[in-house]
């Protein structure tokens, strides 16, 4: 595996991880490892999720009732892994966080790249 270029990595903002997890789970159930990989892959390794920080977040989301977990054997697999699944409440939360996120991005964007500048 090639060495990662550390300068390209971005620290996750607080609370953003939760949103990313919820978004990832929108595609269907996933275990912790799959979630981590998915986030890494889709961001071309720019967002580096420390695997350790994933689990406290998952357990926190579960306690809030946004995800549920279940031990399952993946298709073609032999061993059980803990799979997380989005709940209706989690979906609603994701929508809320996403619109919040859009507003944030839009406002930052207006500051950083004012329309006149282009």
């Amino acid at each position: 595996m090639p060495k990662k270029d550390c300068s390209n990595r971005i620290e996750l903002m607080k609370g953003t991880l939760d949103m990313l997890i919820l978004r990832t789970l929108l595609f269907g159930a996933a275990n912790g490892h799959e979630i981590a990989k998915h986030i890494q892959r889709t961001t071309d390794d720019v967002l580096q999720v420390e695997h350790g920080s994933l689990y406290p977040a998952l357990h926190r989301l579960e306690r809030r009732g946004w995800v549920v977990s279940k031990w399952e054997i993946p298709k073609g697999g032999k061993r059980e892994f803990k799979y997380y699944r989005l709940t209706p409440a989690g979906k609603k939360q994701l929508t809320a966080e996403r619109s919040e996120w859009r507003r944030l991005v839009a406002s930052i964007g207006r500051v950083m790249e004012p329309a006149g500048e282009g």
Binding site: M1, N31, G32, H33, K37, E50, H51, G52, S53, Y55, P56, A57, H59, R60, R63, R79, E80, F81, K82
Partner: protein
């Protein structure tokens, strides 16, 4: 989601729920992650070993991850709190001496408070056991020139009820009686409540058995001869017989049917009596008990009225409505109801008088405060010990801080320990206090009728006790904890004498407060004890020694007036014939007993002050020989003789106050007056008796008069016998004589006159106050001795090094002793000075409850100071003398 799943998800909020399973689950999840990661790394070409390392690197610090996940489970602080508790328990177990001393000290404080609180709670804070008790109020009335009263006339009650239907959802008139209830065999004397039929409906009570009275009952005399038994009477007297309902019985010879049993918690409407039977009000309309026209006579005020406010009606609104009703009554019936005012008191406050005068309330508050002082003293002692211990553990604290413990956790650790001590002390104290209160509840007050004082502690008492114990635990821990946790490793390790001095100053200040509090307790106790002594020497106006009494009511056996009168005459004749009997007589009302009669009187030539009615004067129906039996001197004129019978001129003997009130500066002998209830009958004054105590030992002497029983028969009476026999055997003889004459007559109140004097209307309350305050004073003294001893001896041991130096350079042992003693003296003098100020303030409150001694009596104050100073100095002298014997060589080597 199934019920189980729902429960499970709810339970999972608790971090300790299925803890092991969760931990295993997490471990397995993380293991799974590591394996997947390692597989991936292997697929990317790393060796298995390298792949494992890379996976671990990617995950980060595993222990940290687990900790963070646990934090996500929530309630981490509960976990650590439990750890603190476990650690605290271990520490307490390691020093059993410290634990025992502090727990017992707090137990004293909590125990005293629990006892006093359970009395206050039982006496004052418990409403009638009915739903929505806050809606219940007691009506009363006031009329110019008359003391406020909680008794109304029946016609007034009826009018009020008719005119306030929008305010009250129901009004109940009731009256308490003593009657002979006969179910089989001999009648039993019972306390009864005569109530309007709506009583139980208004209260909202459910029967324990059968049914209660119905609103339709009690309206017409003699139509509803039914009776409801009181619960405890049914349980005890009839062994809870389920077949009692429907039984035929008789009350004072009149047939009635038992229809049910009242609920268990309900003890009747006349606190503190434990009512044994409930009857419709109309059953009162029978011979001898009530004036026949009680339903129409507005000046015949003999009924208590309880009412229930409609939901949402405020007291103010009810007051306003009653003002209107009162004005209407005054206008429609100027003769009896002129200027009448109707009053309203919440039921819970109505037990002890009305209006602003509730001495028992301030008495209760006073004792609660005294008990709190004891608790504060206990807390100060414990705090002192805890402080020393906490300072001794500063190295431990510093170490824990160095290992990463926050200040909060250090403080919490120490506070948890004292809270544990507080809880243990509270538990012991509550048990002891509850036991004492339960014992006091069962004390025989020689009242002659069953009482339900409600002193038995209930859950509120236990909750109160534990709550204050918890608070104490927090209070005694918090200051030492903050002090000890102010850690600075460097400073702790190089601690010099300066810090020790500061801690000593804190302890000394606490002990000064202790001395002051203790002095106040002692002075209050001394005042109550002196007051009790004085009360014991109060001139009763009669001689209670060697007199026994037995009460009875021939009506209860169904006797007519004539037969009753014959019975009394014959009984007294037989008693007087006995050789040991010096004198025997009969009277309806015995001084300091439970029966009183009064009636308005009219005196020719006497004008009551403007706007006032003629006063009601108490009286007693007596037989000749009464004055002789009780050694009451006749100051003028004569006492009664056998010649003063039904055919002779009506006569009376009056007391000095009555003579001075109605015939000032005149010779009262030969004057006349008449009773309002029998206006045409002129009564001639033939003698003046010496003043005495009648109704209660505290009441000032009121006008009082005596009339011969032969001229005014009253069935309920007490036989008094003065004899040379011991009380027990005289009572036995007396019982035998009554049983021989009237086998079916129930008797009660068989006791000595001394017992009546010591009873609830007599000295009992003084003895109780003295005993309670004395106990509190003693506990305070014990605590202050322990406190002073502790602070002086720890000061001495801290100065061991200094003492060694001083002695080495030539100080004499007595100089060393003086050095230590001086500190004790300083504490005591400042404490006493503060205590005197506090005592003077307390004395102003206490003074209201004292007889023949002021609250700021100089002898009591001086006595308290001397006693306290002496005891405390002994407590200082012991450690001072020990310091004197210090061997300089050892002392110098000790540090």
């Amino acid at each position: 989601m199934g019920v189980w799943r729902r429960l499970e998800s709810w339970l999972s909020w608790f971090p300790w729920y299925r803890r092991r399973a969760r931990e295993a689950d997490l471990a397995r999840e993380l293991r799974g992650h590591l394996e997947l990661e390692a597989e991936e790394q292997r697929a990317a070409g790393l060796s298995p070993e390298e792949a494992g390392h890379a996976a671990h690197r990617a995950l980060g610090n595993e222990l940290q991850v687990e900790e963070d996940v646990r934090a996500a489970w929530g309630f981490v602080w509960v976990e650590t709190l439990l750890q603190d508790f476990r650690f605290g328990l271990r520490m307490l177990r390691k020093s059993p001496g410290f634990t025992l001393a502090t727990v017992l000290t707090l137990a004293i404080g909590v125990g005293a408070n629990t006892t006093i609180f359970s009395m206050v709670d039982g006496l004052l804070l418990r409403p009638l056991p009915a739903p929505a008790p806050r809606e219940l109020v007691v009506l009363g009335m006031r009329q110019e020139g008359q003391p406020a009263s909680q008794l109304l006339s029946y016609p007034d009650f009826r009018d009020i009820r008719r005119q306030t239907t929008g305010i009250f959802s129901g009004l109940v008139a009731h009256r308490t009686g003593l009657d002979g209830l006969r179910v089989h065999g001999r009648p039993d004397r019972v306390v009864t409540n005569y109530v309007t039929g709506n009583c139980f409906t208004v209260l909202g009570l459910k029967p324990a058995l059968g049914r209660l009275l119905l609103p339709s009952e009690g309206k017409f005399p003699g139509v509803d001869p039914v009776l409801v038994l009181g619960y405890s009477y049914w349980k005890v007297h009839f062994a809870g017989d389920l077949n009692m309902v429907g039984r035929a019985a008789s009350i004072d010879g009149q047939p009635v049917t038992i229809v049910g049993v009242a609920p268990k918690k309900f003890h009747g409407l006349q606190w503190p009596l434990d009512v044994q039977a409930y009857l419709p009000l109309d059953m009162l309309a029978r011979e001898g008990w009530l004036s026949k026209n009680f339903t129409t006579d507005r000046s015949y005020r003999n009924f208590s009225v309880l009412a229930r406010l409609r939901p949402g009606i405020s007291l103010e609104r009810a007051h306003a409505a009653l003002r209107v009703v009162a004005a209407r009554l005054a206008q429609a019936h100027p003769k009896s109801d002129r200027n009448i005012q109707l009053t309203l008191t919440p039921e819970i406050l109505s037990k002890f008088g009305f209006g602003a005068e509730r001495p028992i309330m301030s008495m209760a508050a006073l004792f609660l405060v005294l008990a709190l002082v004891v608790l504060v003293l206990a807390c100060i002692n414990v705090a002192g010990v805890v402080l020393v211990r906490a300072m001794a553990r500063q190295r431990e604290m510093a170490l824990r801080a160095a290992l990463g413990a926050t200040r909060f956790r250090l403080v919490r650790q120490l506070v948890v320990e004292t809270v544990l001590i507080g809880l243990a002390g509270g538990l012991v104290g509550v048990c002891v206090g509850g036991w004492v209160a339960a014992r006091m509840d069962s004390v025989d007050l020689h009242f002659g009728v069953p009482l339900s004082l409600g002193l038995k502690p209930d859950w509120t008492v236990f909750a109160y006790g534990l709550a204050i114990a918890l608070l104490c635990g927090l209070a005694v821990g918090i200051v030492p904890a903050f002090r000890a946790s102010r850690t600075n490793l460097n400073e702790t390790l190089h601690e010099g004498g300066q810090r020790a001095g500061r801690r000593q100053r804190l302890r000394s200040t606490l002990v000064i407060a202790e001395v002051a509090g203790s002095l106040t307790l002692l002075v209050v106790a001394g005042s109550f004890v002196r007051s009790m002594d004085n009360a014991g020497q109060i001139n009763l106006g009669f001689d209670p020694h060697h007199v026994v009494t037995v009460s009875m009511d021939p009506h209860e056996a169904g006797y007519t007036d004539t037969r009753g009168q014959e019975f009394y005459t014959e009984l007294l004749r037989r008693l007087r014939a006995l050789p040991a009997v010096r004198s025997a007589s009969e009277s309806c009302c015995v001084p300091l007993g439970s029966v009183f009669r009064n009636d308005q009187i009219a005196v020719p030539g006497y004008q009551p002050p403007q706007g006032q009615q003629m006063p009601a004067v108490s009286f007693s129906n007596i037989t000749p020989g009464y004055f002789q039996t009780l050694h009451i001197p006749i100051l003028r004129g004569r006492s009664f003789t056998q010649a003063d019978d039904a055919h002779a001129q009506l006569v009376a003997v009056i007391n000095q106050t009555m003579a001075n009130t109605f015939w000032p500066k005149q010779n009262p002998i030969g004057q006349h007056f008449s009773r309002a209830s029998k206006p045409g009958r002129r009564i001639e004054v033939v003698g003046v008796a010496k003043n005495g105590k009648y109704q209660s030992i505290f009441a000032p002497v009121q006008p009082y008069y005596y009339v011969p029983l032969a001229q005014h028969y009253f069935s309920l009476g007490t036989v008094l016998v003065r004899s040379s026999l011991p009380a027990a055997s005289m009572l036995e003889t007396l019982r035998g004589q009554i049983a021989a004459l009237a086998p079916s007559l129930p008797i009660f109140g068989a006791q000595t006159m001394d017992q009546s004097v010591g009873g609830i209307e007599g000295l009992r309350i003084f003895r109780l106050a003295a005993a309670l305050s004395g106990t509190l004073g003693f506990l305070g003294l014990v605590l202050v001795v322990i406190g002073v001893y502790g602070v002086v001896s720890s000061a001495a041991s801290q100065k061991t090094h200094e003492i060694g130096v001083r002695m080495a350079i030539g100080a004499r042992p007595d100089q060393v002793r003086w050095m230590i003693l001086r500190q004790g003296l300083l504490i005591v003098s400042i404490g006493l000075a503060l205590g005197l100020l506090l005592s003077l303030a307390a004395g102003r409150v206490v003074g209201r409850f004292l007889v023949g001694v002021s609250g700021n009596d100089p002898f009591t104050l001086a006595g308290g100071c001397v006693l306290l100073a002496a005891v405390v100095l002994v407590a200082c002298y012991i450690p001072a003398s020990r310091a004197m014997r210090v061997d300089p060589a050892t002392a110098l080597r000790s540090e």
